[in-house]
């Protein structure tokens, strides 16, 4: 959580200093949702984050130098500097990368789940319907799942609803992880969504739906673990709605005219990092001083990561190399 927070703070600083081109979407305040999810995943579980992807990418194990480098547009970046702040795929740690088309990552994540079940069961027989009704097949346990991360805004996309139906009829191992931070850019979920709880939409797709406090690390972790068990037993998809709040604006150009300072202050009091630190102190696991030491250590670590990336930031792909990246070759997959 601290690494995510310091990564975002450093990113904001670098943007303000004019060292990074383009835009960025900071997730300060959503750290428990990111860390809680990633900590609860098993090896081989895949994630497809949202455009607000830094925290998920850090928590899922990517190298911060490669993340900063991606934003500097350098060769060392996760996508060789071709993606930028919103695109940090990392195959090594099972992160497909985000779609910057809100809600379009959800069918991709559903496709990962299709492939996981295909690999696990040995064929696509679980989805064929000529001699059977796939909905009536007994649960087939699977080793891994895919996490389709999306926000409250994306929950209104047709692609999300189509994916939920597909995942449900074929019992695909996908966790629909709705990170409800209350605003899709400036649009309040109260005004844009026809029901109060997105998790209740699970009923329409014949899957469990659960709401969890997204600023409580332990609650998120436990909820994901519970969902993971259900999914890996072969029961099909699960919808988890994680209530949280982004402290910063939508992107770097947002003046936040659509919400009040009072509201922001109220959520700042529920800062997921402070809540977790206090809980750890109250339980006697750490002292206040130890917390301060860990904060200092994480802060210094992220400073060093940014520095390394900055030093190598001029090493960019050439125009000729970029042209060669458009098409895959037959050597890429045989």
């Amino acid at each position: 959580m601290l690494n995510s927070r310091y990564f975002e703070e450093k990113t904001e600083e670098l943007f303000k200093a004019g060292l990074i081109h383009g835009t960025t979407h900071l997730a300060n305040g959503q750290e428990a949702s990111q860390a809680g999810l990633c900590m609860a995943l098993d090896d081989g579980d895949w994630i497809v984050p949202t455009h607000r992807c830094h925290g998920f990418t850090i928590c899922n194990g990517s190298w911060p130098v490669a993340m900063f480098s991606e934003m500097f547009g350098s060769r060392l970046g996760l996508a060789k500097g071709l993606g930028g702040s919103m695109h940090m795929p990392d195959k090594q740690v099972c992160n497909l990368g985000s779609s910057a088309v809100v809600g379009s990552g959800v069918p991709l994540a559903t496709g990962i789940a299709f492939y996981q079940k295909f690999q696990s069961t040995g064929s696509a027989a679980f989805a064929t319907s000529t001699t059977q009704n796939p909905r009536e097949l007994a649960p087939q346990p699977v080793k891994n799942m895919s996490v389709a991360i999306f926000g409250d805004g994306a929950s209104s996309r047709g692609s999300v609803h189509e994916s939920m139906n597909l995942a449900s009829i074929w019992k695909l191992p996908v966790l629909f992880y709705c990170e409800n931070n209350h605003y899709g850019m400036s649009a309040s979920s109260d005004k844009m969504i026809s029901i109060d709880r997105i998790s209740e939409r699970a009923a329409a797709y014949n899957m469990p739906g659960k709401l969890v406090d997204g600023n409580d690390l332990e609650a998120v972790y436990n909820a994901v673990k519970e969902a993971s068990t259900y999914i890996k037993e072969g029961n099909g998809p699960y919808l988890l709605e994680v209530m949280t709040y982004r402290f910063k604006g939508h992107s770097k150009s947002d003046r936040r005219l659509y919400r009040t300072c009072d509201e922001e202050q109220m959520w700042m009091l529920r800062d997921p990092i402070l809540l977790f630190e206090q809980k750890m102190i109250d339980c006697g696991y750490v002292t206040k001083q130890e917390v301060l030491d860990i904060e200092k250590q994480c802060h210094e670590y992220m400073e060093v990561q940014a520095k390394i990336a900055l030093e190598k930031s001029n090493d960019k792909l050439s125009a000729q190399e970029v042209e060669k990246m458009v098409y895959a070759t037959q050597e890429d997959r045989k």
Binding site: A79, P89, G111, L166, V326
Partner: protein, 321 residues
């Protein structure tokens, strides 16, 4: 073997060769597909044929994600007109996968799109939308005109590590032909008739129009070369240049309407090459569908796309003096 059977055989052979080849689409199982192209495939490959709900964007996006992981999906979009529903997963995601991941992922998906008019289905079931994808960087676009090319190009499309859009003109489905033993590659055009007076360039169903036009021209003593593009992206510029330089006269024929179309791209290619451009003896003739939606009534529908007689009359004018 018919064009329809050639496509079915290409899918069947690839499914047999690779268990990762899985076919997705609406009514492609017991029903056999809207145009009976997939008939019986579910019996031959019971675990590789997946009937989907009416969710083109959803199942195409899902197949894109699965392709990134290791599957080689084939998608049948019932009518090419529904391309609007798959634009996001194909153009924004599949096409950019390799590039935007810095080469970490590729997306070997084949999308089969039955297209074209002449069937009386009205303007939302008869379009030929290939031009709309030409601008989508990262895609390959194939549009064969006969059973043999359809067979070989579909197999190559399925094996390709990039997203390939495979356009099948519906009027070609009953066309008979032998499957040639030597495969044609993606990205190569073919000279299907040789003549020294004019080069007619076409693809898909319009190749038949071009060949009929060439027969009429021959009755008037004009010998035409006919080039079948086969692949629209990447365009085989070398063959185009070579065949245009040979005759110095060019006629382009395509079924879809002309604005921003394939012909415009071929025209641009001809003008780009100094030697080819300098070889031109006259203006380039362009025959394309009318810039209207496809009308329903039979005669009007026919009048919307170029006919051989009309093409021949215009081409003969080039030789009047």
């Amino acid at each position: 073997m018919t064009f329809r059977e050639a496509i079915r055989k290409a899918m069947s052979d690839e499914m047999a060769a690779d268990r990762n080849v899985v076919l997705f689409g609406e009514d492609i199982g017991v029903y056999g597909g809207c145009f009976k192209v997939t008939e019986g495939l579910w019996k031959e490959h019971p675990n590789q044929v997946v009937d989907t709900p009416v969710s083109e964007e959803g199942f195409t996006g899902m197949a894109v994600g699965a392709a990134m992981m290791g599957l080689r999906p084939i998608i049948e979009i019932m009518y090419a007109d529904f391309y609007t529903l798959i634009f996001d997963p194909i153009v924004n995601h599949a096409a950019k996968t390799h590039f935007m991941s810095g080469g970490q992922f590729c997306c070997p998906i084949t999308v089969r799109l039955p297209e074209g008019s002449g069937t009386g289905h009205g303007a939302q079931h008869t379009q030929s939308p290939e031009a709309l994808f030409m601008n989508g960087v990262g895609l390959k676009i194939v549009a064969p005109s006969n059973p043999s090319d359809a067979y070989h190009l579909l197999r190559a499309s399925i094996r390709d590590n990039n997203p390939v859009l495979f356009f099948e003109h519906k009027l070609l489905y009953p066309m008979e032909g032998e499957i040639a033993s030597s495969p044609i590659e993606i990205g190569k055009a073919k000279v299907v008739r040789d003549g020294l007076d004019i080069t007619i360039i076409a693809y898909s169903h319009a190749v038949i129009t071009a060949l009929k036009t060439a027969e009429i021209l021959e009755e008037h003593g004009i010998r035409a070369t006919v080039v079948d593009l086969c692949t629209l992206n990447p365009l085989d510029k070398n063959t185009i240049w070579q065949q245009v330089r040979k005759t110095g006269r060019v006629a382009l024929i395509q079924d879809p309407n002309g604005i921003g179309g394939i012909e415009a791209q071929v025209c641009a290619a001809i003008c780009q090459d100094k030697e080819t451009f300098n070889s031109l003896k006259c203006q380039i003739l362009q025959f394309s569908g009318k810039d209207t939606p496809i009308p329903f009534s039979k005669d009007l529908e026919k009048a919307t796309i170029p006919q051989p007689e009309d093409c021949a009359i215009e081409i003969l004018k080039l030789f009047e003096n």
